[in-house]
Amino acid sequence: MARVVVDVMLKPEILDPQGQAVQRALPRLGFDGITDVRQGKRFELDLAGPVDEAALARIREIADTFLANTVIEDFTVRVEEVDAAGSATGNGAEEEVAR
């Protein structure tokens, strides 16, 4: 099975009140020294076929038109290696910054 991960984050200039709320909670939990938190979304797309250039192009299009609103969000697309059970094996991740 092939998996492609799309990470979507608010652009740096867009206020992230959810991230701020998380950051404000950290000192109360005893975690100091975290100066900023931004919260995003992660999409895992499992593909029936191989992750070739055509499949990646299609996924970039999905991310650009649907998964992210590029007025306010950036996204990255990367391929993740998975074993037969569908768990990430933690290697082979290849970062590709699409925007």
Partner: protein
């Protein structure tokens, strides 16, 4: 012949009936449209009502924007069809790129429900012709993701072109940039706003009847 104004129901819409009732009170004929049907059934204008289309999964209005009916509405809007998006409808119009910018989580993270003062900044749109420019109105507001954002250049352009249709008065309820409550496109046929004029059309249930001119405006515009 009465003017036919379509009101689209999406999965999760909840203000479609109020919008239809407002159209009727204003003297038009409301026509129920279903999001899965591309046909606008000979309607002369369309309202995208408030609610939580598709549960606001992904982003508010993001999935609704790809409903079959939206294809027809987006094409129609570009040809001058009057379209009013209220709350979730405004979010759909931004997601469809019929209006610029986007709506994000309220800066204080709370859902807001209150009667909101607004100033009518542009009385030349299809949906605001029955107002006087500068008029101050009160209509209900209820949203969790109503903070309007756009980059500085877009905001400057909107100001310069008079495309900010409504601004919040007294209190900005959600952190909207430049107190923007509603926008119009350049042609003036597409208007989106976060507050709910369809809930201010009868003395019994609304804080005012300040919402009625939205609906009478488009009827006059279509007859003219």
């Amino acid at each position: 012949m009465t003017t036919r104004v379509g009101v689209v129901t999406f999965p999760g819409s909840l203000d479609d009936r109020d919008a239809a009732r407002a159209v009727k009170l204003a003297g038009g004929e409301p026509v129920a449209l279903w999001h899965g049907d591309k046909d606008l059934h000979q309607t002369d204008a369309v309202i995208l009502p408030g609610g939580f289309s598709y549960g606001d999964y992904l982003r508010s209005g993001a999935i609704a924007r790809f409903s079959p009916v939206m294809e027809t509405i987006i094409a129609g809007a570009k040809d001058g069809l009057p379209v009013l998006g209220i709350c979730n409808g405004f979010q759909m119009l931004c997601e469809s790129h019929l209006l610029p910018g986007a709506l994000t989580r309220n800066d204080h993270l709370h859902f807001v429900c209150r009667d909101q003062r607004l100033r009518v900044e542009n009385a030349d749109t299809a949906w605001t012709g029955d107002f006087e420019a500068g008029a101050e109105i009160t209509v209900p507001l209820k949203n969790g993701e109503g903070g309007y954002v756009a980059d500085e250049r877009t905001l400057d352009e909107l100001e310069a072109e008079g495309r900010i249709a409504f601004r919040y008065l007294e209190r900005n309820p959600n952190g909207s940039r430049r107190d923007i409550a509603g926008l119009t496109n350049a042609a003036g046929n597409v208007v989106g706003l976060m507050p709910h004029p369809e809930h201010a059309v009868e003395a019994l249930t609304g804080p005012t009847t300040d919402g009625i001119p939205f609906f009478t405006s488009v009827l006059k515009k279509l007859v003219a």
